[in-house]
Symmetry: C2
Subunit: 382 residues, 2 copies
Amino acid sequence: MHRHRSNLGTLLHHVHVAGPLSRAALADRMGVNRSTILALTTELAAAGLVCEQPPTGTSGAGRPSLVVRPAPGVFVLAFDVAVDRLTAARVGLGGPVLSRLTAPRPRAGVDLDTVVARLAAMGRELLDAAPAGATCVGVGAAYCGMIRPGDGMVRYGPDLGWVDQAFGRELARALGAGLPVAVGNEAHLGAIAEFERGAGVGCPDLIYLHGDVGVGGGILVGGKLLGGESGYGCEVGHMLVNPVGGRPCLCGSHGCLEAETGEYALLAAAGRPPGPIGREAIRAVVDDPSAAGAVAEIGDWLGVGVASLINLFNPGVVIFGGMLRDLYPAAAPQVAARIAEHAMPVSRERAVLRLSALADDATLLGAAELAFGPLLADPLHR
Amino acid sequence: MHRHRSNLGTLLHHVHVAGPLSRAALADRMGVNRSTILALTTELAAAGLVCEQPPTGTSGAGRPSLVVRPAPGVFVLAFDVAVDRLTAARVGLGGPVLSRLTAPRPRAGVDLDTVVARLAAMGRELLDAAPAGATCVGVGAAYCGMIRPGDGMVRYGPDLGWVDQAFGRELARALGAGLPVAVGNEAHLGAIAEFERGAGVGCPDLIYLHGDVGVGGGILVGGKLLGGESGYGCEVGHMLVNPVGGRPCLCGSHGCLEAETGEYALLAAAGRPPGPIGREAIRAVVDDPSAAGAVAEIGDWLGVGVASLINLFNPGVVIFGGMLRDLYPAAAPQVAARIAEHAMPVSRERAVLRLSALADDATLLGAAELAFGPLLADPLHR
């Protein structure tokens, strides 16, 4: 029975990640016979989780083989609390963003109650607008801070100044949908999303770096998120790259990777005022030829960090997300030079550097993956 | 059948790691009933892998309950190629070092053939002296370099100047015992041994730092060694702690953790000639009050490295092994200060710092664990 339940989840995960698959393809991927696939599919279809349809673009004689695809009415609610915006979305089984609402995040007045009320209103609006018959199977949220697994407590969120705020519990209460809210660190969730359906597909040893005001990290080791003793692993942004005389960091230390490569560092290196930050300010610096020296300086520190990470993790891929999608292409020569100088040849021989494929949706889609977790683990008894 | 095989291995692993256990204790640990334990024990005893005996120290009336313990005749051959010595040992199921041979490692003339011939001679001597009826079930070796999983190729061993040397294959051939030789990085193996039976028991998120000329690292994430894409993860010694103007490293880079905290760095900081290194030289510096400044300087860099590792891995325990067993107690104030300064409070709140419990045997016992691996995975069909 346990095997059967696990097979149900595995099949559902395959169509969730890979899209429509024939029964033959499913049998092949799962290493079971077609009659098992038929039984599993029948059960999942009866539960409204998958449907079987002719493949698109079929032509020619004979009855086309049916494909199994995610049922269109199954969705989760995903939230993303980013540095400059709040996002809520309905994300369908299979990964499509079905509808979304985005609001600029106020720079001040960002206490727990305010943020939760704003998000809950967005979430309810999306739920109310969902088609009749559609089912919300979970809720997930990405947050730029250190999150306690299990209850979604924000232990430390320097950007909003949150310490030990019961974000997950309060958002669930305010939403009032009768569902718990699973919360994860945004970079952790970005790593998972890139692995499932982005630039890291097929790379179970993956490092995802998410830049904004800070630099977050999500690291997969053998396909699993590096959680550590209590779930607070992957604080890549606070790896020291310049402990002697480095720039002060929001965390109270100095010389952290995020202090040397985050938005404040780039603007300061370029001689810009520390005023409005965000993607536009970053792009303005990256696109300004007179700021090339600043970009190179930041790129050097980024390269130092990436070289250390390659030595520590022997990753298959390092993925640049968030504002690092803008910075990395401009700083790639410095990053490459530092890797050549500091990363062990054996450690770096198979490491590839890539931009995020999911772009601004990486963290949101990671929150959706978190929300789909219980369904995929046990489709009929979640 | 697969479940049964897995249960046989699990039972054998329990008595291997925990020592003699009653059937009731085994049933409890494995979550199966006593009749299953009886069947498994009978099968393992018939294969000569365990025996049942009255517990020691039993007194009083009634028949004492039997305990299951590792059979005394089952052993592996374990080798350790350290910076200053070569060791070969017979290690019994359950972990006891039954007999050992140690030779100083020559500083020059350390080509593959010479080292392999020396180790093979030591190994054959131990095998020849084994009691009649004793069985060698595997061979493992710890080596201070980057090892390719699968075939024991030394990809990079800077201390001996080895690059792509077929150490595992050649040692197996020279030993002529009809057994393959499993090779692992010494710090990786030290981490595993400390987790199984040392300072890291019960801590699946563990960092083991092994100091000698270099600084090696073994990191367990969720109880598994961090291997990375190709098995070369955990190169903690080449995490950059001082990229600007740091000391040159044997790897060709500079400012690596091992360049700032290894034996050469300590001797240089203390104004000692870079001549004979090894444990005695380290202890002489640590015990010399006039070298306190040098110890503090090295301790600061060690603390920078440990702080970054705590932020990255959120470990339950950080274990100091090799020559760091001598250095760390003297440098603990600096390490603690750097952790307080640079490690995130949430990341460090449950991290404990400890000395290796297995001391000079950590890497050797790790090699033995590697050698026991196939037996424990499938006791009857290895």
